[in-house]
């Protein structure tokens, strides 16, 4: 492929070539504009690729529906998604003055080196700087945050507002597509809430404490601090228990709540605070820790050496009196952390049940005395969660006995493919004429995109429908549910986190469907 793509010579030379170039390359200052460079390189050259006389590019985002191959059945279907996270992106990366002449110069230099060619659209960016004082002439319309919308519907649209800046719409694609992450975390978290709600209701007759049943343990298992903040905030759309402190900062800064904090935690041990006492002093460790926190719930990881022995001998015998003295507001929460999740939970419950006899609740399920509970925080994902609560129910244990912690599966083990999140161009104006555009690859009908200008409506029967090709103008289904949230650099509509939570709450109809 020639000089340009590294037919320089064998493996080592590409790198040595990079080093030689270093002498000639302008050093970047720390003021490099993040949004300008925070773009896939792919987009840098696109301004040259659109048809001549294009004056508008209009694109949209959806979580595509996937008609799955019947041979590949997925356990969880994810038929609806929670729309969340756009406000964060708009505030952090797109609003206000995002371009300065210094930043244009620096981007120009970077791309010159990166492409070994002069392809950067300096003129286009200078125009934005001069005409709009560096604000982005685009308009974003979106569904309200927290809305729960079926797959295959438009969730937001982006269009350029100035004919000179038609190329800007897809420049911002890379940044905006990262919304897949908060959407996916919030959606997956909510699906788990449904599972917990169902089993909690069935085994106890109430949903009390539901919001604390799935605790975020994911801070260390995500790929960066920023991801931790976004992901943890997305989980808090549905729940209130978290150890990922970063999420609370994101909510406070970008959404706001009426309560002082949107998420809570309790004192808890980790292995080091047990093992530091030495193998023969596990009981001393447990005793010390339980005494340190007399009046709030305290979770104590108990599997450092032998979870079953810890439950039976240490909690069940040696420290039994201490445990029984605790109030219902301040239970001991025993935490296993290894072994097959369902088997371990059942065995732990069995052992604790022998030492701390349970009573029967109003639904006929066993409930441990109020001073002792269990938290399973290892190997929990949406599938194992389902297995555990189903297993507990079979063995006649109420879900009131347990809460869950989830880390990697909650915040990291997710990809853009889970909900098929996609951003596609659907409409352009060329030579003054609007054209509906789309892709339709012969080898994959699932990848077909929508056409024309889009709008989202709710029919009389409550179903959502996306109208294509500008048909929303006919007002057949009432007003467009997409609201303008961003216009020419300004955020024109915001949602508080309370509104987000309210929009995402489990609906009556969903609860009915779950129970029956």
């Amino acid at each position: 492929m020639g000089r340009r793509m590294g037919m320089l010579v064998g493996s080592e030379t590409c790198f040595s070539w990079c080093v030689r170039q270093s002498a000639n390359t302008v050093r970047l200052h720390s003021t490099v504009c993040e949004s300008e460079l925070s773009v896939s390189v792919l987009q840098v050259t696109h301004y040259k690729q659109y048809p001549p006389n294009t004056s508008k590019v209009y694109s949209y985002f959806e979580c595509r529906e996937k008609k799955t191959d019947p041979s590949k059945t997925r356990k969880v279907k994810y038929q609806q998604t929670v729309f969340y996270g756009l406000q964060y992106i708009l505030h952090k990366y797109l609003k206000g003055k995002v371009v300065t002449s210094e930043k244009i110069q620096e981007a120009k230099d970077v791309y010159q080196e990166h492409f070994q060619d002069d392809v950067f659209n300096e003129k286009g960016w200078k125009y934005i700087l001069e005409k709009y004082d560096g604000h982005l002439p685009i308009e974003v319309k979106a569904v309200p945050e927290g809305s729960v919308i079926p797959r295959g519907n438009v969730l937001f649209t982006v269009e350029s507002t100035d004919p000179e800046c038609y190329w800007l719409t897809n420049w911002v694609e890379t940044i905006l597509v990262q919304i897949w992450y908060p959407i996916t975390v919030a959606t997956n978290s909510r699906e788990q809430k449904k599972i917990l709600a169902k089993y909690l209701m069935e085994t106890s007759g109430t949903l009390e404490g539901l919001e604390y049943k799935l605790h975020d343990f994911g801070y260390r298992g995500v790929s960066s601090q920023e991801t931790a903040g976004i992901g943890a905030s997305a989980h808090l759309v549905n729940f209130k228990g978290t150890d990922t402190v970063a999420g609370i900062g994101v909510i406070k800064k970008y959404y706001g709540t009426k309560d002082p904090v949107p998420g809570f935690s309790v004192p808890a041990a980790e292995h080091s605070t047990i093992t530091a006492w030495g193998k023969d002093h596990e009981k001393d460790a447990f005793e010390h820790i339980i005494k340190q926190f007399p009046s709030v719930p305290v979770s104590i990881v108990s599997d450092s050496y032998d979870i079953y022995n810890a439950c039976e001998k240490i909690w069940g015998e040696d420290l039994r009196t201490l445990v029984e003295k605790r109030s219902a507001d301040a239970p001991l929460v025993v935490r296993p952390d290894s072994g097959n999740p369902l088997d371990t939970v059942l065995k732990v419950l069995e052992i604790l049940g022998k030492k701390f006899p349970p009573f029967e609740n109003c639904r006929g399920y066993k409930l441990l005395p109020p001073y002792i509970r269990v938290i399973q925080g290892d190997g929990v994902d949406i599938n194992t969660l389902q297995e555990i609560v189903e297993g507990m129910k079979k063995h006649r244990w109420s879900i009131e006995n347990i809460s869950f912690g989830s880390g990697g599966a909650l915040l990291q083990k997710l990809t853009r493919d889970l909900l098929n999140c996609s951003f596609k161009c659907s409409y352009v104006v060329t030579n003054g004429l609007g054209v509906n555009v789309f892709k339709d690859p012969v080898a994959d009908p699932n990848k077909r995109s929508k056409k024309g200008r889009l709008s989202l409506h709710r029919k009389q029967n409550g179903d959502y429908v996306t109208l294509e090709e500008g048909k929303g103008d006919l007002e057949e289904y009432g007003a467009d549910l997409l609201h303008t949230v961003f216009h020419n650099g300004k955020i024109v509509k915001t949602y508080t986190f309370d509104e987000v939570r309210d929009n995402a709450r489990l609906k009556e109809s969903e609860m009915e469907e779950l129970i029956h």
């Binding site: 793509m5 493996s11 696109h46 992450y181 298992g221 601090q225 530091a276 010390h288 820790i289 050496y305």
Partner: protein, 497 residues
């Protein structure tokens, strides 16, 4: 140095706020370590150590505690726990005694080094007895090392596959560093992850569209331009011409980018028709006009990756013919190449290259783009990354500590003070219980009391992480005799630690 608006005191798991009350009384040292635990039947046996310098420079070095941050944390934790539990006095002491710098020592393997699973990669301990609780306070942040380590490792595993096939079907490794292009920017969870993951890929390759990774490599690893790209189309720039003008859209690409390679996604409607009738038909002469340095790179983007690629290359062979290289494999004319950037992961890359090989095609014909499999489809369990306490001192007396859950022996942790050495057989191993010889220790003190003591450039890291001979030509090794890696692994399994 550490970011101003970032509050270090809020960058930990909530429960760690309560741990200072839980350690045994009179503990004066907590020593912990990080490893990628070994797991039976695991797919990856060795890891690339990368990313610590970023964390140290961005979050840990310099002054991380201020009165303002203490107050913010205090107020927050009171509401978060609904009680007072935050160790205000402890943090104020850090601020007063050390001007807000962390009295911590971190020793680590040099960045870029390739280390077998199950070995210590870095250790952390407090340097002042008063701050025993600090060691595990920073666990949450340091365990995020799993990410750059895992991306760099997976990226290198791709490189091994590509190198083997390139060597066997072309006789050389020319262009290897451009064979796997990072397409992952939009599919990661945040800008910061894009930067870190993007940089980790650049340890092994030079090809990327994730600009943030370039900036990261420049700012934190002293590499002005770590990666390159070429002009390329996306679907919007093709479909905006309308379905009937696909040829015009393609022609525009050739016109706009006459010199230098250009990639054109060609599956908007029908990839096979596009190849046969447009590229191989109406625009055939335009394509043939292009020089070797300005190749057209056709990009399929849907359908089964291997099948689609094979059919595309067959069509191109019919339309443009091909030649044979020095080792007898077919190569398309030098003005024409293919990039497969959809559905690529370690399995599909191996599958595609094998199928190409079986059909007589050289790996020179194809480039790959990888998005989520490179930067997002990974987690801490991929390499079983863990941080555990292995040694404490109480009243000045040391004790080796560990966990050993009966419910999962693979979760057992190492004991005592640790060092890493190359033994007399040349294999890297971890020495436990503090009996390691300091002069043999491969771990280097990189951070102490707020100061970064050791820096690595991307250049050095790339050297450390380069492929070995046996990665490229495994066929050369006699199948009857175990490879050095096999022997090494047996070594570890027999518990040489």
């Amino acid at each position: 140095m550490a970011a101003q608006d970032f509050n270090f005191l809020l960058a930990t798991d909530s429960y760690k706020i309560t741990h200072y009350k839980q350690y045994p009384p009179n503990v004066n040292r907590v020593y912990s370590y990080f490893e990628c635990r070994r797991k039976k039947g695991a797919q990856f046996n060795e890891v690339v150590f990368f990313g610590l310098q970023y964390l140290l420079k961005r979050y840990i070095a310099g002054r991380v505690v201020t009165e303002e941050k203490i107050q913010e944390a205090k107020v927050f934790y009171q509401m978060h726990f609904k009680q007072v539990v935050f160790d205000e006095q402890g943090w104020r002491s850090v601020m007063e005694k050390y001007d807000g710098r962390l009295p911590i020592r971190i020793k680590a393997v040099p960045e870029g080094k390739i280390i077998p699973r199950g070995n210590v990669l870095f250790t952390v301990e407090n340097t002042d007895p008063e701050f025993f609780w600090l060691t595990n306070y920073i666990e949450t942040m340091l365990v995020q090392m799993w990410y750059p380590i895992t991306v760099a490792t997976i990226s290198r595993e791709f490189k091994k596959i590509l190198a083997r096939h390139l060597k066997s079907t072309s006789g050389s490794l020319e262009g290897l560093e451009f064979k796997l292009h990072d397409f992952g920017y939009r599919g990661v969870s945040s800008q910061e992850s894009a930067a870190l993951g993007g940089a980790a890929h650049l340890v092994n390759f030079c090809s990327t569209d994730t600009v943030a990774g370039l900036i990261m490599a420049q700012r934190y690893y002293n590499c002005p331009m770590a990666g390159f790209s070429i002009p390329a189309a996306e679907h919007s720039t093709i479909i905006s011409w309308g379905r009937n003008r696909e040829k015009e859209a393609y022609e525009c690409m050739l016109d706009q980018f006459p010199s230098g390679p250009v990639a054109v996604v060609s599956d908007s409607y029908d990839i096979f028709k596009a190849c046969r009738h447009i590229w191989g038909g109406k625009l055939k002469e335009r394509v043939m006009e292009r020089s070797e340095d300005s190749a057209l790179v056709i990009r399929p983007d849907s359908g089964d990756p291997a099948e689609t690629l094979l059919e595309v290359i067959k069509i191109l062979e019919e339309c443009f013919s091909c030649s044979q290289n020095s080792v007898g494999f077919k190569v398309l004319p030098s003005y024409l190449r293919i990039i497969q950037g959809d559905g690529i992961d370690l399995c599909s890359v191996e599958d595609i290259l094998k199928k190409l090989h079986d059909e007589g095609w050289s790996a020179e014909n194809v480039f790959f783009g990888c998005g989520s499999a490179l930067l997002q489809k990974l987690n801490r369990d991929t390499l079983n990354c863990a941080f555990k306490c292995s040694y404490v001192e109480t009243n000045g007396k040391g004790m080796d500590v560990y966990k050993q859950p009966v419910t999962d022996p693979s979760k057992g942790s190492k004991r005592g003070r640790l060092s890493l050495r190359r033994n007399s057989d040349g294999f890297i191993e971890t020495v436990e219980s503090g009996v390691g010889k300091p002069e043999e220790d491969m771990l280097v003190t990189v951070f102490e009391n707020g100061t970064l003591l050791q820096e690595y450039s991307l250049d050095e890291i790339r050297k450390n992480a380069r492929l070995w001979e046996e990665d490229v030509s495994p066929a050369l090794h006699n199948q009857d005799h175990p490879t050095p890696l096999d022997v090494h692994q047996k070594h570890i399994m027999n518990g040489v630690h």
